[in-house]
Amino acid sequence: MAEKYDLIIVGAGPAGLAAAIYAARARMKTLVVDESIPGGQVKTTHKVSNYPGFPEDVSGKDLAAAFAAQAQRFGAKIAKAVEITGHDLGGPEKRLVLDEEDEVTAPAVIIATGAKPRELGVPGESRFRGRGISYCATCDGAYFDGKDIHVIGGGNSAVEESLFLTQFARSVTIVHQFDEFQAEPASVQEARANPKIKVLLSHEPRGFHGEKSLERLEVEDLKTKERKVLPTDGVFIFVGMTPRTDLLKDVVPLAKGGYVETSEAMETAVPGLYVAGDVRVKRFRQITTAVADGTIAALAAQKYVKEHRR
């Protein structure tokens, strides 16, 4: 027997949970589903300094927990660590199957599935995942206590997570393909001033080598074309994110990069199907913009459900 809701939100990150707060307060029977615990990318971000309302910074973990608690306070249900094993999102009554056993339906669905770390696509990368290669500093930083590690990337994540990693590692060498960092100048300044951080610009990773665990990182100097093999105890990769739009593959057209185009009201071509957060085609992806999307999607969904229930 399928359980009926007014709104199902896929993804319990900032976009999904902001939507849940608004939907629940509008007295919509709301279900949020997530494959993990709530928080999305925020939960593994060690420190958030630019979310309005927190003049003293807030840990990603605490911010994520606060979002979830607020949604639940108004009656939204959050299903954690579930897998969507079946779905039918194209019609007026949308259906999801969770963990091969529970069926849920709703006239309106918001997809807020966010993004996952992009891989380099370099030989050895998948082999050493979890054996020296990581994409999450908060998750795995402690494994590299006193070690000499490398970070690949040059944006905010690479620079900020490198600073975070200095509390564990003996040295952190940032390897970046361009001549200068793309990160916020304030973070770059802090990184360059940190004695544990070294910088290798205009270099690209070409391979990962080792026996049972990662032992060497091969890089290429883009200026001289020279290949160098660097001994390493671990490599953290922060080269961007890729949108998680597998659910929407055959439901709505996907734009370049796998993102989804929507109207200003977060609508897709399918009535009652909305998209919010990092998965959308947009220029800037931040917690604040995700929260804005979630809000709009919930308000639009509320109007839609009201009109279609008459």
Partner: protein
Amino acid sequence: MSDHVKEITAQDYEREVLASKEPVVLDFYSTECPPCEALAPKFDAVADAFAGRARFLKIFRQASRELATRLGVTGSPTLVFFKGGREVGERMTGEEIKKSALKAQVESILE
């Protein structure tokens, strides 16, 4: 934690993992680890499903550094599979471990 999941320490490794008659799924976990938290209910459910046929063990990484290093484990969670005292199959790591994938992996090891 499910009745079918047992917590062990590094001292128990030889006896509980290598000398086990049934295949073993060993979960290296840490605290402050959202992917570990997300895995826990799935691990419990799969342990219940395979009760009696495979053993599901958890080991706290921070208290077992030497063993983790010896096995080349550098991320939490990491699931390592054992049969007849040797490692078998592919390890599973990180946030994206799905219950269905874990079930399938255990099935293939039992064959």
